[in-house]
């Protein structure tokens, strides 16, 4: 589902497995609880270990983007999968948040 790590005003959410309408609310709750506790300036949503995603994943990203924007925070997406990138582009998410193919080291550390 999701594992969140917080450090230096950055919360990274490592999503895994399948993201659909059934599982999305549980992931959302987890990430939102972390945003609430750590009040990060940057939220990174890492889809590297996601094996399946439908448009429920888009709602998940948009919702978190809105939440972060309220506190002037940034959101970034890491997504190596071309199919999921296509769905994200369909929603115009690439115009709102940076979509990277892989984690960069300085963010990772």
């Amino acid at each position: 589902m999701v594992r969140c790590e917080a450090s230096n005003e950055v919360v990274t959410a490592y999503l895994c497995g399948e993201i659909d309408h059934h599982i999305a609310p549980k992931i959302r709750e987890d990430i939102d609880a972390n945003i609430q506790s750590y009040r990060p300036k940057l939220l990174i949503l890492d889809f590297s270990d996601v094996s399946f995603m439908d448009s429920s994943g888009i709602g998940l990203i948009m919702g978190r983007y809105r939440k972060m924007s309220l506190s002037k925070g940034k959101t970034e997406v890491v997504c190596p999968c071309a199919r999921m990138q296509k769905i994200m582009q369909m929603a115009g998410i690439d115009r709102l948040v940076e979509i990277r193919k892989e984690q960069t080291d300085e963010v990772n550390k």
Binding site: H21, H22, A24, F52, D54, S56, G59, I87, M90
Partner: protein, 146 residues
Amino acid sequence: MKSTNEIKLTIPSKSSNEGYARVAVSAFIAQLDPTVEELQDIKTAVSEAVTNCIVHAYPDVIGKIYIMVQLLDKNTVRIKIRDTGRGIEDVQKAMEPLFTTGSEERSGLGFSVMESFMDKVTVTSKKGKGTSVTLTKRLSQRVKNA
């Protein structure tokens, strides 16, 4: 086109069945030897259609979702996903990208995703009677000795 093989599934509109529905459909289609990409396309489209039934057709009740998968000539797959729920007032509008009557966390992209991953998407609906979505896709590979 003639159907060479088909299955019918009826599932309750519980969100926990979304995963089962897309896996069951893709498992049946596997006999046509699709590519991994094609299977993922179909799984994604089925997931969207089934989610629509759960979220929109039966918002307050658990209803039945009828799924039929037909393997047709020329390596073509036809998937029909039907409900007897609320129905859609304006199908054309419902199919517009980003249009949704759902919550803030719904993207309004369900039909766009279906259209982009399948060759053809046909929707018929009657208010108060239900909705039927037919997804068609021709697979690239030929069946070996089917």
